[in-house]
Amino acid sequence: MKGRRTFLKIAITGAVAFFVFVWNKLTLQHLRTSSGKQHTFPFNKNKTVAFNGGFIVVTKPEIRVFSAHCTHLGCKIDKMQGDRLVCPCHGSEYDLEGKVLKGPAYRDLTEMKASISEDATTLTIEG
């Protein structure tokens, strides 16, 4: 009786572990197949800072694209106060080079790979 119980416990744990393994693999595989998207936006080089969905496009002193997600908890940054990018959730602040000026965030904004079309009218952001 005791042996049967132990066997069942091990079998159930194994089944759950197998399920978790398959679920993890399945999801990661799905994420891989659906990632690598490109995002294309109209580009305005005269706008010093533009908030395009999940991205922040800064044109001065040089053109750089950052993820708009605060490195603290991922909240979307959608505004500036003075010359600072400010997170609405907990008030983290970044300069226009994506550097943290005020916490709670401690990591700089993630810079994205981006390219500008030849006629400088569209911006394509990778990922």
Binding site: W23, L31, K45, L73, Q81, P88, G91
Partner: protein
């Protein structure tokens, strides 16, 4: 036994609530649309009160379910003795607590509003940071960023089913007692009728999670590595498990720890709910923005089954920025907007706030801002994230908002400041004599002075924030307002770029009076009743009498104030300036160019200038615009084409070719150090002999608080005259420029009348002020108007004569005005004849009278002009090689001698 089975407990009430949540959820699924949750919920609230009450019911029953479940848990813990559940059941129960919170938060996410979107980001980030399975877990719960499919599935199925199983398993009950069910139903229904489930208007910048996670949001705010906070959840689940399974000390300590945590978390929750505002900054009830950034979260309308509009009209109302606004169901015929501010584009609440999801007038209009654009509320209206935040941030830094120069000079004149250039702000006035003087007589014109009454901007208007310049009433709108007896007005005034001279007039027809000068009107000391019946006179503000003088040449050409002054001058450029001439950017030489112009291509324009240019003039691509020399700003109504400079009036589009300066202006010999306005100012209003004293019984006015008061500074004026300006030196950055100046402050101030202190006497000042009179004439002033004119040289009016006696020449001056008892100079003089002054001589630190050498050189030419006509060949040659010509002069030419 039967009685015990049906006994009402927190557990049975929670069970009742669970069934209510499930039932209402099933019904709510009918109108809810996962493709566009925010629009579907706002539509429910605006158009479908039955769906709305079910949504409220679903919301409130779920909140009560959470609360009752927690209380039920506490109730069990509260009992002395062990609970001693089997480990498996205890584990599932502890885990179900987490699942309840997940069911709640997914419901919160399904609103799709600003709060939900940010909460979703936080949840995703936290989940992703769980080691090994984080990415999978986050995606499995939340799915694709732009889809609500998985969230919805988990909310209605995964989590709900798990909770149901856990409940039934531990309570062995499927159904609550009938009484509990009935009581819960009606109790929740009642609350659902009066209080709607929250929905963010997506306009207010304050974002918060659901009330039960606001404490957690506060904790996260303190953590640099927020992933560690997940251990808190794990810790709580373990503690709950231990309470349910262990006994004695372990159980007691677990209970105690949970209790302490609950108390601490409650404090954090209250902190987050009531003392955190925009950007999670501290917000206190006594702060001005508290109502907007904190209390806003608690405003929620009740259900109205008979909305103030028909369903058809509500359906026809446009969707604005992803939401349905009830405002447009009633105000469906409102018209008169410009395209960019049309209600169909930005809705009503973008400007007027109020509640866009309420369906009756009273609730909709609650906390509404009837007159938006005042600077105190501009960040909530014109300056919200989606509109003009960068401009609203700049405007308060500009001089029209701070009045820094006016305040600083006044304090300087009252001997309260060492220099007239300190940066100050109208919102920081104290109780000093100068500050009270400012409050009584000067500071009504700052942009922050709120507009409090409906109607167009006119000559009586002062301040008004954004509306001060951008409000325009069409004749129809004005008529509708005038004839209104309380019913709804359908004609809306315009917010537009059409800034006319009338917008500037109310404030700028005072002090330097550039608005009236520009149009060719000079203020007199006549009373309204004394005004002659003639078109040469004009009555302003029903009491000020003006007389005709030559208008500015730019006015004659149809140009308005904004044709020269661009957006960064008028709305500030973010820099605090001491005086208007520092903030003012455009100079004559920016447009009247000799040689190669400074230009900027349309594609390189800054965004603001590009938008304004495109709105005003359409397609601007390929255009080359002029750029100012001083602040390097684009002049969007000018362009360079085919070697010519063209100018367009901003409001009327009138095209003109820009003239280069005359040859006499652009050579580098005599007069190269003169500002254009030194010669081209036709006249300027002057005032001398002013006296200020405080009268404790005088009916006065507090211009900051906008109310009448007893006791006020009173200004007694001497006389107003329209004269040619005096010339002075502006010295800065190693450069000296001759500029027009006026007797700005030749005045006495009876300080003792205010302070009642015998040690305070009468202050006397003889200060001239730099001037920009805005009375430009195309032809410069004559040579003699400077070289033979005592007024131009700073001596004041009088008889200036060149006398030759015994072969020696000398200048003599006889003042018109008697010597002032305070300093012995004539009442209107800046300096004594052929003398100069230093120290406190002007209302600026960098403006001085002509020095003795400058006066002598000017008068030397003046001596020549007493015989030679200014148009004569010899005088024209003088302009280039004066010193050479002097050497070749004939014996008849007697130069002045200086003692």
């Amino acid at each position: 036994m039967k009685q015990k089975k049906n006994k009402t407990t927190f557990g049975t009430l929670a069970l009742a609530m669970f069934w209510l949540v499930v039932l209402s959820g099933v019904v709510l699924a009918i109108p809810f649309d996962i493709k566009d949750p925010y629009l579907s919920i706002s539509s429910i609230m605006v158009l479908n009160p039955w769906a709305s009450i079910i949504r409220n019911f679903h919301y409130w029953s779920s909140q009560f379910f959470l609360l009752l479940s927690l209380i039920h848990l506490y109730d069990h813990f509260h009992r002395r003795g062990k609970i001693a559940l089997k480990p498996g059941l205890a584990f599932r129960l502890s885990f179900s607590l987490l699942i309840i919170f997940l069911a709640m938060i997914t419901g919160f996410l399904l609103k799709g509003d600003a709060d939900s979107l940010q909460a979703r980001q936080i949840l995703q980030t936290l989940a992703e940071r769980i080691p090994l399975i984080g990415k999978s877990l986050a995606y499995s719960i939340l799915g694709d960023a732009d889809s609500y499919q998985l969230i919805y599935v988990h909310h209605i199925a995964t989590f709900t089913v798990f909770i149901a199983i856990a409940m039934v398993e531990h309570s062995r009950k499927y159904w609550p007692p009938a009484t509990d069910f009935v009581l819960s139903t009606f109790g929740t229904l009642l609350i659902s009728y009066f209080l709607s489930a929250p929905l963010h208007d997506n306009l207010n910048p304050a974002v918060k999670g659901p009330w039960y996670f606001v404490g957690f949001q506060e904790i996260l705010h303190w953590l640099q590595h927020p992933a560690w906070s997940l251990l808190l959840f794990l810790g709580i689940l373990i503690l709950v498990y231990l309470v349910n399974t262990t006994k004695d000390k372990t159980m007691f300590r677990s209970k105690r720890t949970l209790l302490i945590f609950t108390i601490a978390y409650s404090v954090l929750t209250l902190t987050g709910l009531f003392f955190r505002g925009e950007n999670w900054k501290w917000a206190m009830p006594w702060n001005e923005e508290y109502k907007y950034s904190v209390l806003h979260n608690f405003r929620t309308p009740g259900i109205d089954f008979t909305p103030d509009f028909t369903l058809e009209v509500g359906i026809a109302a446009p969707v604005v920025r992803g939401r349905k606004e009830s405002c447009l169901a009633c105000h469906n015929e409102t018209h008169g907007f410009t395209d960019s501010h049309a209600a169909q584009a930005i809705g009503c609440i973008s400007c007027h706030l109020g509640n866009p999801f309420a369906t009756d007038k009273k609730q909709s209009h609650q906390n509404m801002i009837l007159i938006p654009g005042n600077l105190s509320t501009a960040p909530q209206t014109c300056g919200t994230t989606q509109c003009h935040p960068e401009i609203v941030e700049r405007v308060p830094t500009g001089l029209m908002s701070t009045l820094s120069g006016m305040i600083s000079v006044d304090r300087f004149v009252f001997n309260e400041q060492d220099n007239p250039d300190s940066l100050t702000n109208v919102h920081q006035l104290g109780d000093s004599p100068a500050d009270e003087h400012l409050r009584n007589l000067c500071v009504r014109c700052h942009l922050g002075n709120p507009k409090t009454e409906l109607g167009p901007i006119n000559e009586f208007s002062r301040g008004g924030g954004c509306l001060a310049c951008h409000l325009n009433y069409s004749p129809e709108a004005e008529k509708a307002l005038a004839g209104n007896t309380g019913e709804m007005i359908n004609t809306h005034p315009q917010i537009s770029l059409k800034v006319s001279n009338n917008h500037c007039f109310g404030c700028h027809s005072r002090s330097g009076r550039i608005s009236t000068n520009y149009e060719g009107w000079h203020e007199t000391t006549l009373l309204a009743g004394e005004m002659p019946d003639s078109s040469n006179y004009r009555l302003i503000e029903n009491e000020r009498v003006f007389v005709k003088q030559p208008a500015d040449v730019h006015h004659e050409l149809g140009m308005e104030c904004i044709d020269c002054h661009h957006s960064y001058e008028l709305m500030g450029d973010g820099t605090h300036y001491s005086h208007q001439e520092n903030q003012q950017d455009v100079q004559c030489s920016d447009c009247h160019i000799e040689g190669e112009p400074r230009t900027i291509a349309a594609e390189n324009l800054d965004n603001e200038s590009a938008i304004i240019a495109a709105l005003r003039f359409g397609n601007i691509s390929g255009k080359e615009f002029l750029v100012t020399e001083k602040h390097k700003r684009a002049l969007i109504n000018t362009y360079f084409e085919n070697d010519s400079i063209w100018f367009l009036t901003k409001n009327t589009g009138k095209k003109m070719a820009m003239k280069a300066p005359a040859a006499v202006c652009s050579r580098n010999e005599a007069h190269s150090g003169l500002a254009c306005s030194s010669c081209h100012t036709a006249w300027a209003p002057t005032c001398i002999g002013c006296h200020n004293e405080y009268d404790a019984n005088e009916r006065g006015y507090n211009m900051i608080k906008n109310h009448e008061q007893t006791g006020s500074w009173v200004e007694y004026i001497g006389e107003y005259k329209a004269k040619l300006p005096t010339l002075g030196n502006r010295k800065n950055e190693g450069k000296t420029e001759i500029i027009p100046v006026l007797p700005g402050m030749i005045m006495t101030t009876d300080l003792k009348s205010f302070t009642n202190d015998n040690q305070d006497g009468t202050i006397f000042h003889r200060l001239y002020a730099p001037a920009a009179p805005h009375t430009t004439s195309s032809k410069g002033r004559s040579c003699v108007s400077c070289h033979n004119n005592p007024l131009a040289l700073g001596y004041g009016e009088g008889k200036l004569e060149y006398l030759i006696e015994n072969g020696k020449g000398k200048w003599e001056f006889q003042a018109l005005y008697a010597a002032d008892k305070n300093d012995g100079l004539p009442a209107d003089a800046w300096i004594d004849f052929l003398q100069t002054r230093e120290g406190k001589v002007s209302t600026r630190s960098d403006v001085f009278p002509l020095n003795v050498d400058q006066q002598q050189r000017t008068l030397t030419v003046g001596a020549c002009l007493t015989c030679h006509d200014e148009k004569s060949d010899v005088m024209q040659k003088n302009l280039n090689h004066f010193d050479d010509l002097l050497k070749k002069r004939s014996a008849k030419c007697i130069l002045p001698e200086w003692k």
